[in-house]
Amino acid sequence: MGTFTSEFLQALHLIVTGDGDLWGIVLLSLWVSLSAVAVGAAIGMPMGAALAVGRFPGRRALVVLLNALMGLPPVVVGLCVYLLLSRAGPLGVLGLLYTPGAMVIAQTIIVTPIIAALTRQIVEGLDAEYAEQLKSLGLSRLASVPVLLWDGRRALLTALLAGFGRAIAEVGAVIIVGGNINHVTRVMTTTIALETSKGNLALALALGAILITIAISVTAAVSLLGARQGPAHA
């Protein structure tokens, strides 16, 4: 119990004194995960919306596939990205392996299906309500997509949040493609795993506390934003 208290106090000290190593790791984690969510949103939202409003052969199968990809095992994604980016791999010439760029790629692959599947669900629900009205106002199915995305913006924030939550907490893929290199690719989750195995609980606890705080803060921010945002005005 005494050890735990001492480690906890040390963790608190690291946070409050603005330890350079600790905050470097936090910032890198945020940069990697936010980049992955941004790229995942740019790909996943139009993809999800297209699946929601489009009517084409094989659509049902694509929806099932997309839903299945939400449970993509991160370590398998890490392995595949590793094979692609390794020196002998097809994208080896890019020299991205063991860089934050490789971690962004891996996390993007993990979060894109989540964002796309949730977007599809949200937009499809809204489309069921709006379709006749928008058609009556003269909008084509394609022209309806921006309207549906805008009117579903609050729910779509939740989809982004779900993607961010998955990315920031992810460890398997980033450790494979990032290599957990100190000051280069070490992020919160990989550091917690490493430092715990080394018995350096203070740093692990400090990072754990920050990780939890980030998760709670993002959720609270989205809730507050939803409450304060109000309607879009003319």
Binding site: S136, L137, D151
Partner: protein, 247 residues
């Protein structure tokens, strides 16, 4: 009985329906060999549940493509998709998740109006619907009657020559219904062809110039409103007015 009079300019847009047929799941749900909407309007479509009233309205507006037959507006055959110069208001108003004014701005923006013209038109429409004080309010927070009035204003913002209304007051109290009926009468008096589906015989009496009675997907009777309510031409009309006509 409340007095809602439709006076003013006559609706000039004519709609011709020829050999219209529509089937669903192998069952014929609409069969209209010939129907002409002309005269001053409004036209009220009456009939029991499942008679095909709303389906006919959706076909006329182009929301549903008929299996066979043609619909022409002022002699021009309408293709699939909502026809230009038409607007529709649904039983449950579908308002965008934006402010009251933004719902109108959405339609006006599509007409490529300048900002100042758009704002002026929004103010005029809100005034017309008695919603000026609610411009910045979320549209979804309006009461049922206000929401339906906004839906009508939004339809008007498209500048329609034909306005379809699908049971616009079915969920409203008498006061809200009265406001909607006044709006409909004013719209009709401005020369817009109004075609209204309703279950409210009193409303049809108050508003309609002519009555279409639907039964089993067919037009059982199409008569001037005065004649229909005084002496229906068909057995279906007599049964409907006496409350005995079922599907």
């Amino acid at each position: 009985m409340r007095d809602v009079t439709v006076e003013g300019q006559l609706a000039s847009t004519r709609i011709d329906v020829t050999a219209l047929r529509l089937s669903r799941s192998g069952r014929q749900v609409l069969d209209v060999p010939h129907l002409v909407l002309e005269g001053p309007g409004p036209t009220a479509i009456l009939g029991p549940n499942g008679a095909g009233k709303s389906l006919l309205l959706r076909c006329l507006h182009g929301l549903i493509a008929q299996d066979t037959g043609t619909i022409a507006q002022d002699g021009r055959r309408l293709r699939s998709g909502a026809a230009a110069g038409q607007a529709m208001v649904f039983q449950r108003p579908v308002l965008l998740r934006r402010s009251v004014a933004a719902n109108l701005a959405f339609v006006l923006r599509r007409q490529r109006l300048g900002h100042a013209t758009r704002q002026k038109r929004i103010a005029e429409l809100l005034e017309e619907g008695g919603l000026s004080t609610k411009a910045r309010q979320p549209a979804r927070s309006l009461s049922g009657g206000e929401a339906q009035r906004l839906a009508i204003l939004r339809a008007l913002a498209t500048g329609p020559r034909v306005l379809f209304l699908d049971e616009p007051t079915s969920a409203l109290d008498p006061a809200a219904t009265a406001k909607i009926e006044t709006m409909i009468a004013r719209i009709a008096s401005e020369g817009v062809r109004v075609v209204l589906v309703t279950h409210d015989i009193g409303q049809a009496r108050r508003l309609a110039h002519d009555i279409i009675l639907m039964q089993g997907g067919r037009v059982a009777e199409h008569s001037p409103a005065g004649a229909f309510f005084a002496r229906p031409l068909t057995q279906a009309g007599r049964l409907y007015l006496s409350g005995e006509l079922l599907i």
